[in-house]
C-alpha cells in the first residue's frame, strides 16, 4: 500500500531564479495489490513523484506512507532499511557492468548481509522466475534491453519487497520487449501479491497493465481512478488521454452520434435500436474499442447514412435512460 498525502516538492531556483514547484499538493492512494499507473507529459512531475515513495527525494511538505509506515516520520537509518522492502526498476536498467546477471540480482541481498549460499539460491530462483536462468553468468553488455530489464526486475524482487516502483520501465525498449516486460510485471504482481506503482508517458502501457491510474499535469493530479470507472466517464481527462475522441471527416454529410462503449454499455445495444428498430443505415465514422483492465472500452463515432431521423432523438433518450452512453454530435 502506498499513500501520499498533500505532498509538495519545491526545488530551489538556480542562480537566483524562481523556485520550481515539481509537485503541488499531490494525494495518491494505491491499495495493497493494486497495479497503479501515473501518466503525464514530461515535466509533469512523474519522476519526482515516484522518487518520493522511497524517499530518494524528500518532500518539501506532506507525508509518504508505504505498507502502513509513515516514511517521512522515520529517521534516516530506518528509511534506508525500509527501502529494501520497496523494489525499484529504472528506465535505463542501472545494472552494474562489473557484475554478472546473477551477481546483480544478489546485490541487494549482499547489502542486507545475506549469506552467500542463500544469495545464490535466491538469485537462481529469481532469474528462473524472469525466464533468464540460462543467462545467469552473462554481463549486462551481453544482454538485450529487454533481458537487462528482466534482470533488473529480478534484482528489485530479491529482497522480497511488498511494493515495486517502475520508473518508465519500458520507455527504452522496443515494442516486443515492452510487451514481454509488461507481461512479466503483471505476472509477478499476481504471483507475489505485490503493489505496483508505474510511471510512464505511454498511454498504451497504462492500458496494457494498470488497474488504476492518475493523470499528472504540472505537478497536480488532474484526474484518476480505477480504469473501468474512468473510461466509462465522458468528461474524464484521463479517459480522453487513454482513448482519444475520434474525429470524423467533416466533408462527409450525415448525422453523427458519439458512443462511449463500456462493459456495461456495449455498442451493440445502440446499434440494435438504430438499425433494428429505426431501420437506419449506420456506419462507423471513427474510433476504436479495446480491452482495458479486463473489459471492453472505447469511443465510437457513428454516422447515419440513410433513413428517417424522426424517431432518433426519442430513441436516444430511451437508450440513455437504459444506461447506454450515446449522444448526437451538434452539426
Amino acid at each position: 500500500m502506498i499513500e501520499l498525502n498533500d505532498v509538495r516538492k519545491v526545488f530551489p531556483g538556480r542562480r537566483g531564479g524562481a523556485d520550481v514547484v515539481a509537485l503541488d499538493g499531490v494525494d495518491l492512494h494505491v491499495p495493497a495489490g493494486d497495479f497503479a499507473g501515473v501518466v503525464g507529459p514530461s515535466g509533469s512531475g512523474k519522476s519526482t513523484l515516484i522518487r518520493l515513495v522511497n524517499l530518494l527525494e524528500r518532500p518539501t511538505s506532506g507525508s509518504v506512507a508505504v505498507d502502513g509506515r509513515v516514511l517521512t516520520d522515520l529517521p534516516a537509518e530506518q528509511v534506508r532499511r525500509a527501502r529494501s522492502s520497496i523494489g525499484m526498476v529504472f528506465q535505463h536498467f542501472e545494472l552494474m557492468d562489473s557484475r554478472t546477471a546473477a551477481e546483480n540480482v544478489e546485490h541487494p541481498l549482499e547489502l542486507a548481509g545475506v549469506g552467500r549460499a542463500e544469495r545464490r539460491r535466491r538469485s537462481a530462483e529469481l532469474l528462473d522466475l524472469v525466464g533468464l536462468a540460462e543467462r545467469a553468468g552473462a554481463r549486462p553488455r551481453q544482454l538485450s534491453g529487454g533481458q537487462k530489464q528482466r534482470v533488473a526486475i529480478a534484482r528489485a524482487l530479491a529482497a522480497r519487497p511488498g511494493v515495486l516502483l517502475c520508473d518508465e520501465a519500458t520507455s527504452a525498449l522496443d515494442q516486443a520487449s515492452t510487451t514481454g516486460v509488461l507481461q512479466l510485471l503483471r505476472r509477478v504482481r499476481d504471483e507475489l501479491g505485490l503493489t505496483v506503482l508505474l510511471i510512464t508517458h505511454e498511454m498504451s502501457v497504462v492500458k496494457a497493465v494498470c488497474d488504476s491510474a492518475v493523470l499528472l499535469e504540472a505537478g497536480r493530479v488532474v484526474d484518476g481512478g480505477r480504469l473501468d470507472d474512468v473510461l466509462a466517464r465522458d468528461d474524464s481527462a484521463l479517459a480522453a488521454a487513454l482513448l482519444p475522441a475520434p474525429v470524423a471527416d467533416d466533408r462527409v454529410a450525415g448525422t453523427l452520434l458519439r458512443v462511449t462503449v463500456t462493459e456495461a454499455a456495449p455498442e451493440a445495444t445502440v446499434l440494435r435500436v438504430l438499425i433494428g428498430q429505426l431501420g437506419l443505415g449506420v456506419e462507423v465514422a471513427g474510433g476504436s474499442v479495446e480491452t482495458v483492465a479486463g473489459g471492453r472500452h472505447g469511443r465510437l463515432l457513428l454516422r447515419i447514412t440513410d433513413g428517417d431521423l424522426a424517431g432518433l432523438d426519442t430513441a436516444l433518450r430511451q437508450l440513455r435512460a437504459e444506461g447506454s452512453k450515446v449522444e448526437r454530435v451538434a452539426a
Binding site: 529504472f90 542501472e94 541487494p108
Partner: protein
C-alpha cells in the same frame, strides 16, 4: 663502452633503486590517493555526502600539491622527510616527497573516474537500501575499476619521472645515475642508456596497465 663491466652493475643498482622508490611510493600513493579521491567525490555538492567546506579544503590541498613543481616540493617536504625517515638523503627518503607529490595527482584522477559512474547506478543502490559506504564499495569503485587502473598506471609512470628528479637530490636511482655518469662525465652514451632503461620500465608498466584496464572494461 670499454668500461661496460664497471658501469653495468651500477646501472643495475640504479634500476633497482628506481624500482624500489617507485614501487613503495606507488603502493603508498594508491593507499592514500584512492581514499582521498573518494572523499573528494562524495563530499562534492550533489555527491553522496555533500560537505561543502571539507570538499573545498581538500580541493585546495590537492590543487596546491598539483601546482607545485616537483623539484620545489622535494625541498618543501624535507622537514617531513627528516621527521619520518630520519634523513633526507637516499632512496627511502625519496619515497616521502614522491608520495606527497603523487597522492594529489592520483586523487584527481580517481575523482574524475568516480564521477563518470552514472548517477543512476548510485540511485539504484540507494533504492536497494545501500549505506553510503556500501555505495562506494559495491558501486563506485567496482564500476570505475577499469578507469581507476588506467589512472594508477598514469600515476606510476609520473612517479618514475619524479623519481629521476629525486635522484638529483641524493635519492639514487636512474636519474642520479644519468647525471653522475652521463651528464657530469660527458658520456652521452650512458645518458642514452639510462633513457633506454627508463623507457623499458615505462613501456612495460603502461602495457601492463593498459592490458589490465582493457580486460576489466571488456567484462
Amino acid at each position: 663502452m670499454s668500461d661496460w663491466s664497471r658501469i653495468a652493475p651500477q646501472l643495475a643498482d640504479a634500476t633497482g633503486e628506481t624500482l624500489y622508490m617507485v614501487a613503495v611510493s606507488a603502493v603508498l600513493t594508491v593507499l592514500l590517493g584512492i581514499p582521498l579521491g573518494v572523499l573528494l567525490t562524495v563530499t562534492a555538492p550533489g555527491g553522496l555526502a555533500p560537505l561543502g567546506w571539507t570538499h573545498r579544503v581538500l580541493g585546495l590541498l590537492v590543487n596546491l600539491g598539483r601546482s607545485l613543481p616537483f623539484i620545489i616540493l622535494l625541498v618543501l617536504v624535507a622537514p617531513l622527510t627528516r621527521g619520518l625517515v630520519g634523513t633526507t638523503i637516499g632512496s627511502t627518503a625519496a619515497i616521502v616527497p614522491l608520495t606527497v607529490g603523487a597522492v594529489p595527482f592520483l586523487a584527481r584522477l580517481v575523482e574524475t573516474s568516480l564521477r563518470e559512474v552514472s548517477p543512476g547506478k548510485v540511485e539504484a543502490a540507494l533504492a536497494m537500501g545501500a549505506r553510503r559506504r556500501q555505495v562506494v564499495r559495491t558501486v563506485l569503485l567496482p564500476e570505475a575499476l577499469p578507469s581507476l587502473v588506467a589512472g594508477v598506471t598514469v600515476t606510476v609512470v609520473a612517479l618514475i619521472s619524479y623519481s629521476a628528479m629525486a635522484g638529483a637530490i641524493g635519492g639514487g636511482g636512474l636519474g642520479d645515475f644519468a647525471i653522475r655518469f652521463g651528464y657530469q662525465q660527458f658520456r652521452t652514451d650512458i645518458t642514452l642508456l639510462t633513457v633506454v632503461a627508463l623507457l623499458v620500465v615505462v613501456q612495460a608498466l603502461q602495457f601492463g596497465g593498459d592490458t589490465w584496464a582493457r580486460r576489466l572494461a571488456r567484462r
